[in-house]
Subunit: 439 residues, 4 copies
Amino acid sequence: MAYKDQQLSEEKVFKDPVHRYVHVRDRVIWDLIATPEFQRLRRIKQLGTTNLTFHGAEHSRFNHSLGVYEIVRRILNNFENRPHWNNEERLLCLCAALLHDLGHGPFSHSFEKVFKLDHEYFTQQIITGDTKINEILENVSPGFSQKVSDVIGKTYKDKLVVSLISSQIDADRMDYLQRDAYYTGVSYGHFDMERILRVMRPIEDQVVIKSTGMHAVEDYIMSRYQMYWQVYFHPVTRSAEVILSKILHRAKELYESNDFTFKLKPTHFISFFEGKVKLDEYLKLDESIVHYYFQLWQEEQDDILSDLCERFMNRRLFKYVEFNPNLQMKEWMELYQLFMDAGINPEYYLVVDSSSDLPYDFYRPGEEEERLPIHLLMPDDSLKELSRHSDIVEAISGKKRTDHKLYFPKDRLDKLEDKTTKKRIKEILYGQGDVKNVR
Amino acid sequence: MAYKDQQLSEEKVFKDPVHRYVHVRDRVIWDLIATPEFQRLRRIKQLGTTNLTFHGAEHSRFNHSLGVYEIVRRILNNFENRPHWNNEERLLCLCAALLHDLGHGPFSHSFEKVFKLDHEYFTQQIITGDTKINEILENVSPGFSQKVSDVIGKTYKDKLVVSLISSQIDADRMDYLQRDAYYTGVSYGHFDMERILRVMRPIEDQVVIKSTGMHAVEDYIMSRYQMYWQVYFHPVTRSAEVILSKILHRAKELYESNDFTFKLKPTHFISFFEGKVKLDEYLKLDESIVHYYFQLWQEEQDDILSDLCERFMNRRLFKYVEFNPNLQMKEWMELYQLFMDAGINPEYYLVVDSSSDLPYDFYRPGEEEERLPIHLLMPDDSLKELSRHSDIVEAISGKKRTDHKLYFPKDRLDKLEDKTTKKRIKEILYGQGDVKNVR
Amino acid sequence: MAYKDQQLSEEKVFKDPVHRYVHVRDRVIWDLIATPEFQRLRRIKQLGTTNLTFHGAEHSRFNHSLGVYEIVRRILNNFENRPHWNNEERLLCLCAALLHDLGHGPFSHSFEKVFKLDHEYFTQQIITGDTKINEILENVSPGFSQKVSDVIGKTYKDKLVVSLISSQIDADRMDYLQRDAYYTGVSYGHFDMERILRVMRPIEDQVVIKSTGMHAVEDYIMSRYQMYWQVYFHPVTRSAEVILSKILHRAKELYESNDFTFKLKPTHFISFFEGKVKLDEYLKLDESIVHYYFQLWQEEQDDILSDLCERFMNRRLFKYVEFNPNLQMKEWMELYQLFMDAGINPEYYLVVDSSSDLPYDFYRPGEEEERLPIHLLMPDDSLKELSRHSDIVEAISGKKRTDHKLYFPKDRLDKLEDKTTKKRIKEILYGQGDVKNVR
Amino acid sequence: MAYKDQQLSEEKVFKDPVHRYVHVRDRVIWDLIATPEFQRLRRIKQLGTTNLTFHGAEHSRFNHSLGVYEIVRRILNNFENRPHWNNEERLLCLCAALLHDLGHGPFSHSFEKVFKLDHEYFTQQIITGDTKINEILENVSPGFSQKVSDVIGKTYKDKLVVSLISSQIDADRMDYLQRDAYYTGVSYGHFDMERILRVMRPIEDQVVIKSTGMHAVEDYIMSRYQMYWQVYFHPVTRSAEVILSKILHRAKELYESNDFTFKLKPTHFISFFEGKVKLDEYLKLDESIVHYYFQLWQEEQDDILSDLCERFMNRRLFKYVEFNPNLQMKEWMELYQLFMDAGINPEYYLVVDSSSDLPYDFYRPGEEEERLPIHLLMPDDSLKELSRHSDIVEAISGKKRTDHKLYFPKDRLDKLEDKTTKKRIKEILYGQGDVKNVR
């Protein structure tokens, strides 16, 4: 029997707290999971620094990737005999679902920003490059790995397949909302996925939702909104990310400087510092390695690097206030100068972080990120864009919300000896009242 | 106000999936949580290698420690005005609960066995040694750290306090059963803790259970039984532990040998190899460090070390069969010789692992581990040992169950070229039939 | 000890699926629960006819009343030592919470509409009239029953107390959303009540919410919205209510007519038909009695009454289409005539039902139902009306949504012999397409 | 298309809190659910008087019947292509599952005991008699109704089919354990049904369990054990049942006596009193009718009847003590006499109730109720009886546990004026101490 059609002699299952069980019957899927590249995802947390805010959020990308695969598997079970659905695409969808996050590194958000990387690029590299994953996919059929890569890159010709993996209501989002809610323990993130799966219908170029399931979709969109503001953009999590980014900046700066030598050569980081990361180097970097270096760097002779690393490892985070530098340019410049005067390097210790989210949007051609809208399939078989049918969604549609926060080491301000500087800094930061820190 | 009595201006909470919220009001507790020694527990998984079997089990000891603290806090809330309860002991109990696992290192089970360590010894060292934890505890009152250490070591004079932290139905067990069930996703591990807490009563020298709550306790004991056999002793988890132990053995052996030099000096491990681990060295070793070395050791020039590390990191585990060497001594010896003949070092690749559990026991003086029984408080205020009142508990009381498994690398056997050796090995391992591997 | 201060020797608990346990310590509460008037609530379903749509929704008002009591009890535990809170009002709040629904009869919605009754009037009658409930309350202190009645009637002078029991985020709503979600099994209705309770603060004249808890309140409001449209206004449930109302109408009409005699005198209904219901008669009417009569009426000689009763008991409900008579007056009049021509009495078999909901509103003085807004307590201790701080709530604030449906017996239309009438009726009802019936 | 093969145009679902959704595709099933005989189950509580102890337990037999159907549907989905399974039996199994409880009346336990009825007999009567149910089944194929009846009566020739519906681990038990746990809110009753369904295998004459699923079965058996003792045999529930039985006894006695005339002729009960219940009369009796009569009987002129009815409706239950009349014959006789002396008719007010349960048993030929054991399917395809493989099950296997309680109206004893009698009664009942009453 052709490799692509081989079935395991007995279905294998993974016990999964979110979907109860993840079911595997295809040998290809089983083999992909067993590769070193996929196993590596066990050492990369799904939510980066979020566990410093929500201690339960220690789950890995391995965990999530299996979940996305399982959701797509269930969707395709429902699609099996439906019009428009070509069951030949089944294995392609399953592989793309399983592998869509393969290129994530540790703390992707910060690493990508500081080192100008893109995890999707690495996902595609792993799939098409010289890896075990690629070997298995090419075994399915020559060129199959490229197809998987195209689906993930959204360039695959069959848009129906693409929309299963990436859209405003795809398996990826449905898994992470529920999973992240489960592991953090927050009560948001619940929606009736079983119902959504049952009302999904394939049409020519996309997956649509039977209109009778509209309320379940509304609930999903509200879950998404709440998870963004309550979990993903939690200011304490962002504080840890701010510190992490500054560590990476500082280490790079030191590496580039002529005046500084690391006690231990930062072997694993060099290609990152030099901006020419090769695939095999990228694959070696997981969270363990990062933690290892951060532990060592606590003892490096640069005060900024060692302080920031110590803060990160021991969770001595920055505090924050609401602050919008666009509107408060004068205060911003004054603060910057005051920090300089006080001997606290503002490049590293006075940081604005802005987060913004657009909970749902219809199609706005030409905008920076064109989003494909969710379409409802009406009883008369016409399509209707979701926000034209749902009051709730219409109300929040296209409304981008942005939150600006200013991060700083309150402990160091508290210890400032120059009373005038200290007083003025606090005046600007807290105005008349006193700051409220969450944790 | 004395440090020990200081309260935070607002109660702080940690969102916890198991107990909903962990509540902190005492400044002492808040400060203990913020120490580097306690934050380090974030980098140590509660269940070691279990996540290789149950991918959800990625939670840390930090997570569990907060949970145990929270349970004790709730118990003490109920005890507040009860006879026999001295509320002066409250802070002591809370600290002991929070800190009881502080000395756990990464993959404690294997490390302790191979390097003859004892996590409880390190817990007590951290509490009484030169640490931030100790500083805070001594700030409560001189000698307070020793008291906390005594409670954890079960030598504290007030046995009621000790039994809250360590008994057959203590806060530690109640937390981990529920927590491990939550994160693995198994359906065992649920019992009505709220009810158990409500029927706990302090008496002179122990915590007892009002007899009306007996069924909830039965359910707890059955949960415990199921969790041991379904999760903690899962044969796949033990396979990973077997490999881990063998890595540590091999690395030590190589370090001690004159013929081998590590490419990278195993700095973090040296004191372990030499059997003289100091506290500060111990505290540096978390799972990240272990993973870092295992990654490097994959490229060391010793075949056994690099193979075992590669297996561990990429989850290429050993397979297993039921095998009791005590009863099958002849087969064992023959197998050992066959492995030698085949060039597969049986010291590292043919490993028996035995697990045993005693779900509940009454007091049997003089036995290897004397267990204090659970006592029911009867309506007439007499005490009755649990198994004398519960049919179910009586049925399993004192019944030790042991499971023996033999682990080996099936992949290498499959590739053996000497057909006769291969055939004979498989005959012994699988008898007439063929092995069934779980995953 | 004064009756009002008496405590049970041991706390009593009720096992409750929603709040885990309902705790009772006050003797007054215990005694109130044991009265026949309160026990009667066991025989009145919380959601009337909803169980014909969601078969799980078979829970009683007894169930819900205990839940509301429990929530208020928990709120007051948190309030105990807060400024503005007068703990003297504790028992009053608990009694009002427990008893707030006491006057509900079976299928209140339909009975109130048809017979022009008001359950709140009866609640107050039971509390202040000649009942066991009144006896217990007066035992607390003379005039206490009137106070309880005033709180429920929102005329009590202390507005803080009133707002605990009746506001846009009161214990009543928090209980029923969660409880109705639990019993129906829908995934809406979950919100983080524990968090809301923790951020509730008493001020002079109302309960407010600390602004840090805003997202939990948003989630509560979205739950409310979803429950209304997904559960409470479910068109199938409304079909059963339409039939029920028509049964009551018909029975009254027959009673008033000179030409008809009931086989069995409808003793329990007479005072309802005659519009002069006395308290003791009201208290005798529970769902069992209604079902008893409906069973008998199936055999009465009036075709309409027997048909409608048979439909209700055996769940042969009316079907429905979207239909707004205000906009479709011409069609409405034509349909009415067609039904007459076809011999299907349109008074009973062609029924428009309109449901509308306002998920949240700020204060609009002078409007038909003045709603007190939810106020957030900001970090600087100022108050801010919720919709001015929450984008989501602002988006739906004050947006009333109305749904009109036309109900009719499709089975009878299908059997019409006059093809022309039948065709024309179906044309009007379904337009070009065909109707989609939910269940 | 033949009626038996007709499918609904779209799958219909019922939202179910326990199984999430109940799925219906077969027209036959849809039509059976719509019959008056099946809809009647909505007016019969699954757990009779249990809601007087656990207020959440208000769910109906309708609810449970759908659940059993759904479980069998899922099992058969898994069986579809397995050896030994004849898919021709599918519809038969589904019908038997759906209809297995059809003959239950209100408060079956008491009614059956007092009036010597058997609900299974009525189930078979409804299925084979002159009913809508029968009409539909015969429409499937002539004689099909008899087959369904035979499966429920366990006389059907294909024992594999019978064992799906009735065995020690059948769909009935799996549904009610979970459902009753859900509605009562107790934490027992959870087990991993999804896993059990996945390891069920059809063999020639029974359903067996793959040995890898043994622990899930152990958990199920422990759930069963706990539910029996914690919920089904709860002494407060039994108190209500004792009163209910005594009401029925008394009413029958009065009916048979020449000296008494009911104010309202007990029409619905007459055939029960006379021991010749016809099917149509039986079908009319649901809980509403019973409650209706009990309300009226409160005002009958017989003190015993009116008192017992008032107790039942207002939940003024009897109290209880442990009492085994077999061992305490002398006390029993003395008590009986003392009650007579005190003017409290012991036939109605001094009642022993004994409950016993056998959690699991292997086959013991010739015993009063032969139970078919649960068999495990071992890796070598042999069968092994469960208790021979599971320590836990072996420990409780065949152990019948019995609990005897004596019920009496404590309130009346408290009011006795004859101090000597009162004192002696209390001495016998409570011994030296004082009774503890649960609720």
